[in-house]
């Protein structure tokens, strides 16, 4: 059997409707051979976590420009944990200051990709993670 295909939920929580970044990363994941479930903008943490569970996603990628990243990381991590889905790889991208990253990592965000990050780096991070966790 060939390698299992990595499934990623890409979501954009909160009230800002700019989804350019989310769409770019969604396309990068697709071009890297992953299946991307794109849930769109204005998503609540509950909606996002439900999508992760029903779609049996391996990865959750959150795009945030609103500045409320700590709040969303907290909420989403809590819901993932409560619903037994905290084995999902949780990554974030967007306008997130370096100073906030340790806090986000503490909350369960495995990696944070700021404005300067290249899509190739994000893809590589997800691939490496999958290669490591696929061995089980």
């Amino acid at each position: 059997m060939s390698d299992p295909i990595i499934r990623v939920v890409v979501a954009k929580p909160g009230m800002d409707g700019h989804d350019r970044g989310a769409k770019i990363i969604a396309r990068a994941f697709r071009d890297a051979g992953m299946e991307v479930i794109y849930t769109g903008i204005f998503q609540t943490p509950e909606q996002i976590v439900s999508a992760v569970i029903q779609e049996d996603a391996d990865v959750l990628g959150l795009s945030i420009l609103s500045g409320a990243h700590v709040h969303y990381a907290q909420e989403i991590s809590r819901l993932l944990r409560e619903q037994g889905a905290d084995d999902v790889l949780f990554v974030m991208g967007g306008t997130i200051s370096k100073a906030d990253r340790p806090r986000l990592n503490e909350l369960g965000v495995a990696a944070v990709f700021g404005p300067g990050a290249r899509t190739g780096d994000v893809v590589k991070f997800v691939r490496d993670w999958a290669a490591e966790h696929r061995a089980a």
């Binding site: 059997m1 299992p4 295909i5 499934r7 969604a26 396309r27 994941f29 697709r30 071009d31 890297a32 051979g33 992953m34 299946e35 991307v36 479930i37 794109y38 849930t39 769109g40 998503q43 609540t44 509950e46 909606q47 439900s50 999508a51 569970i53 029903q54 779609e55 049996d56 391996d58 991590s77 993932l80 944990r81 619903q83 037994g84 889905a85 905290d86 084995d87 999902v88 790889l89 949780f90 369960g108 965000v109 495995a110 993670w129 999958a130 490591e132 966790h133 696929r134 061995a135 089980a136």
Partner: protein
């Protein structure tokens, strides 16, 4: 988070526990079993016999039509109506994979996300992955898993682009074919195998000009093919974005269900589906079997060499290959 190894290839799951989880309606278990079905993992073959006795209750509705004709928006509206009638709804939304990278953007769910947190709705996106009928098997396994989990209505969305997708929805109890104005020759767009399988026609985007023309074209065409003795195929108009015509669509879906029940065709639909699926499964296994034999013998490389050097023509080489692999000529 993400510290614990996650078994992407899980072989440890106990079939009994998986089946019990599905029957209990445990979302994680349902979702994981669907993943196994997509990967054609051994666990599925052990769980499905346990679930099969609990299937057969759900009304399976296929929704198909050209790319972008509003299928997902219609599904979203149908979910809302069915939920208002306290029915539990499962959705299987199929989108194409890139044949080059195997990747896909599955965007059907986007239009249905308002139902994401509803405990009576389960939405799953599937990518088409390979062309050898694997999609069809995975889609129908997903339908049966949701059926066994107690979802009352199961909606299958596929793009009505090719034979592959057409075959998938053809086995549903009720097939809704969606047309839209403005795609040039409206009928042409839904000709390829879809006309024959429609139980209900929907002309969506009726807020656009020429919707009436599409309705007329469809009506003319149905007049030429009057071979449904017990069911008159309705042609409905909708504006999915605002829900216009949706109560009528739902009423038609319900009427078709009642009609299937009364005419005794209910079970016949699934029997046809099973027959088609079994044939595909046979094809798939046969294909793998042939591939394995070819890989294990040196015949292919040697005969190709003979053809390339003009000592043999392809027809004779094919006959030899067939025989060398151990089969008799037909």
């Amino acid at each position: 988070m993400s510290g614990e190894p996650r078994p992407l290839h899980s072989r440890r799951d106990d079939p009994q526990a998986l089946a019990a989880g599905v029957r209990r309606g445990d979302l994680r278990t349902i979702a994981r079993l669907i993943t196994f079905a997509e990967r054609d993992e051994a666990a599925v073959a052990q769980v499905m016999p346990l679930l099969q006795p609990h299937t057969g209750r759900a009304h399976i509705v296929g929704i198909t039509g050209a790319p972008g004709c509003g299928k997902s928006t219609l599904v979203d509206q149908v979910i809302a109506i069915a939920r208002a009638a306290t029915l539990r709804v499962g959705v299987v939304a199929v989108d194409p994979s890139s044949p080059f990278t195997r990747g896909a953007i599955l965007a059907d769910r986007l239009r249905m996300q308002r139902h994401s947190t509803d405990t009576g709705t389960f939405i799953r996106s599937l990518a088409s992955r390979d062309e050898l009928g694997g999609l069809s098997a995975a889609t129908w396994d997903t339908v049966r898993i949701l059926d066994a989990a107690g979802y009352d209505v199961i909606l299958i969305e596929t793009v009505g682009a090719g034979q592959l997708e057409t075959d998938i929805v053809a086995g549903a109890h009720t097939v809704v074919v969606v047309a839209v104005p403005g795609l040039g020759d409206s009928i042409q767009a839904i000709k390829a195998g879809l006309m024959e399988i429609a139980d209900i026609f929907v002309v969506n985007m009726a807020d656009r000009p020429d919707a009436a023309q599409v309705v007329n074209d469809l009506r003319d065409m149905l007049r030429l093919n009057p071979d449904h003795p017990t069911w008159e195929i309705p042609i409905l108009t909708t504006v999915a974005t605002v829900g216009a015509g949706l109560p009528e669509l739902w009423a038609a879906i319900e009427r078709h269900r009642a009609n299937l029940r009364e005419s005794g065709a209910w079970a016949g639909r699934l029997k046809n589906q099973a027959r088609a699926e079994l044939l595909k499964s046979l094809d798939r296994q046969w294909h793998h079997h042939v591939q394995e034999r070819v890989a294990a013998s040196g015949s292919l490389a040697r005969l190709a060499e003979e053809v390339a050097s003009k000592r043999l023509d392809t027809h004779s080489a094919a006959t030899l290959l067939w025989e060398e692999l151990g089969w008799k000529q037909r």
